[in-house]
């Protein structure tokens, strides 16, 4: 029987080492809420949810440390009790979403345009490497430049560099006020306005354009939100309607995301011109654009040409295998990726092929 979480993770370390010794692989799994994301899950399923719980939370330090198997919902509830939150507004995609999965996929929600992504709030991590070592990087303080920033490197690594055991995150106080506005506008008009507004000191914390309708969210001090509401065009949404709307964007329950057509995520310079390649939903002031269907090669090329990249976010396994999930890397970058993988997981135990088929 496992009596403490420490013994648990030590047992895990043994299991990883043993798997490596016999040339096996492990597919790390939290709640499975983002199992659809990235390459296929290959290897023996390794459920990491037993390693859960908040290790330390001090609201006045604006820092929380949680074990990776902690439910994202539980973490957010603990923060909300103290009037704080995870500013990057991570999507859950299921009530089973865990903190580890949040970090490994590094997906951020609507507020990303205003506050930054998951990686911007990571302060420290504890990981189990592919050789069965438990290592700690970063820490629990806001500023820390001792050693390479391995903690942020874990964000978006899809478990390929190691099994995340624990993460320390910077948190922030909840905004005092929020208001959402809605106006009708075509795509190029919306992109133009969004970029212009972003160059002004306005408290815009989220934006979504789809099908001729632009929705904005303002967040901040009561006075700041009220002042911006006077400056900006659009009709105010009722608060509960706004909550439902932003949740539908974050959780992809909005009608745009329904159906089986492949879903592409384009990460583009916010000012990139409209791209007529399929049905579009635009977020992050123009910097994140979702497309349904369309010609895969044309989409990849369109992303690269303007200095961004395209991810095949949701699609059949066959389509993912054919086109790859993530934008291909340049030769030198791919070499660095392989070597980094080797540095943390030399025998390729963790999540092979989940990020790129090469490793």
């Amino acid at each position: 029987m496992i009596d403490t979480l420490e013994t648990l993770t030590e047992n895990w370390a043994d299991r990883v080492a043993e798997t490596a010794d016999r040339g096996g692989t492990l597919a790390i799994r939290g709640g499975g809420s983002k199992a659809f994301y990235g390459g296929p899950e290959l290897g023996e399923p390794f459920d990491v949810r037993a390693n859960r719980g908040i290790v330390a939370y001090e609201p006045t330090e604006l820092v929380v440390t949680a074990r990776a198997g902690t439910l994202l919902n539980d973490l957010q509830a603990a923060l909300a009790e103290q009037g704080q939150f995870l500013p990057f507004e991570p999507p859950h995609f299921s009530d089973l979403a865990t903190v580890g999965g949040m970090l490994a996929t590094a997906l951020s929600g609507p507020r990303r345009q205003a506050v930054g992504a998951v990686r911007d709030f990571v302060l420290g991590v504890k990981v189990l490497t592919g050789t069965g070592e438990i290592l700690s990087f970063g820490g629990q303080v806001m500023k820390n430049v001792a050693g390479y920033d391995v903690s942020r490197l874990m964000a978006g690594s899809l478990g390929t560099l190691g099994l995340i055991l624990e993460v320390s995150l910077k948190v922030l106080p909840l905004p005092a006020a929020e208001k959402s506005l809605r106006l009708t506008m075509d795509e190029s008009g919306a992109l133009d306005r969004l970029n212009r507004w972003a160059g002004q000191p306005l408290p815009i914390s989220a934006s979504a354009w789809h099908d001729g309708v632009l929705t904005l969210r303002l967040s901040g001090a009561v006075a700041a939100v009220a002042a911006a509401q006077r400056t900006l065009p659009g009709d105010a949404l009722a608060d509960d309607e706004a909550t439902v709307f932003w949740s539908s964007i974050r959780e992809q329950t909005h009608a745009f995301f329904a159906g089986d057509a492949p879903l592409w995520r384009l990460s583009l310079p916010s000012a990139a011109a409209p791209q007529a390649l399929g049905a579009t939903l635009i977020e992050w002031g123009g910097a994140q654009r979702w497309w349904r269907g369309g010609d895969a090669q044309a989409i990849r090329a369109a992303g690269a040409v303007v200095g961004g990249h395209a991810t095949l976010f949701r699609a059949t396994d066959a389509m993912k295998a054919e086109y790859g999930v993530f934008q291909p890397l340049s030769g030198p970058l791919l070499r660095i990726h392989r070597k980094l993988k080797h540095a943390f997981d030399p025998r390729g135990v963790f999540n092979p092929g989940r990020l790129y088929p090469d490793f």
Partner: protein, 496 residues
Amino acid sequence: MSLDFSTGDPRFAVDRPALIARLSVVLPADALLTVEEDLRPYECDGLTAYRCLPSLVALPENEAQVRAILRICHELRVPVVPRGTATGLSGGATPHPDAVVVSMARLKKILRVDPFSRTAVVQPGVRNLAVSEAAAPYGLYYAPDPSSQIACTIGGNVAENSGGVHCLKYGLTVHNVLRVRGLTIDGESVEFGSAALDAAGYDLLALINGSEGLLTLLTEVTVRLTPKPPLAQVVIASFADVRRAGEAVARIIAAGIIPAGLEMMDKKAIHAVEPYVKAGYNLDAEAILLCESDGTPEEVAEEIVRVVEVLDNSGASEIRVSQSEVERLRFWAGRKAAFPAVGRVTPDYLCMDGTIPRKRLADMLEAIEALSRKYALRCANVFHAGDGNLHPLIMYDANQAGELERAVAFGAEILELSVRFGGTITGEHGVGLEKIDLMAEQFASGEIAAFHRLKAAFDEDGLLNPGKGVPTLARCREYTLARAGTAPVTFVAPKS
């Protein structure tokens, strides 16, 4: 005496005449310094206690020249030390005795300022403040503002992941850089990040920030520009004891306020600054806090009321709010000039850079006071209190026998205490040469070994900035044994 790279650190067999011959082909005559009088100005960075004459200094003007230098050095196995304007405070740009110092200061073009997408593309030798100046006509600025911003370069900022007095609200360098273009040691082009908000694959951009010139040479940086807030006001609160000032910091955060800046200075710092800058600080205070609020006039008014209330309840003996932009800048001028001001009242000083949880600020100040007595050296304290980042300035006189050694030991104790308080040995200045031994205080051998493997993923032969940032495992063992009392502690030998 030149710097002694300790046992276990790499040395390189360099055929200097052959190297000069090769470099002369790819560089104009004025871009290669070879004689001692020209090399002398490059022997140290802002951490002047550590000096070493470089073998050569190259001053490339464009990326093609940088690439050519790297290819030659890589082929001949010659180490390379990247250098911005050497304002660094941890010896990151201090030469290695066998190295070519590659100064990036001549790559100083602002390539593009795009107000529409709020970005600027700049060469690495562009000074931090120059970016904000170029963006100012559009109501934009580059948010990270190290106190050295008039002089330090963007390349150096990225290499150190520099902070500034406003990073509590606006983030560090890593939060404000979108894309970095660089060259690996073999001269290959790499791009980390992108013109969008993220890039495919591992977050190498995050890894490059703060990598102290050990992974790649940076040749171009795309930074994010931020709209200038219409108004900023600063509150100065004086405290009759440091503990109350420390507690006030925690209370401001607890009240849900994220000020644009939250700085603390102790009495010694105030007394060094006031005669020099005449910022109007209270000379009777044991500590002062500077708390800035920015945003729309409505927002600032709302926040200032709340800040003043918290400070009042925290036992501040005097509270003043800047009433004009001129006054606000005067209040900040003292803080921004703190290092040079202390430099006026002592022949030499060492600037420490630990970070601790905010709640330990007062404990740390008291501990420093005790250490100051123990080592019989004065210490002025300037803190980025909002993020718990400390800059104790240990004053000494290098011409007095033993003072430098005492100052180094004093500093080491502060940093060890920072780690024990749950913090780190460096918040923003980097490990460099200065804190390399102290890395063993914060990391076990497993992490150190992982750092070496990571480095090798970019630079297999260890040619980029050798002997900095991460200690060899042998050196960690030496240090750990020494701390356990079984061997004498020796820090990197400073100048004679």
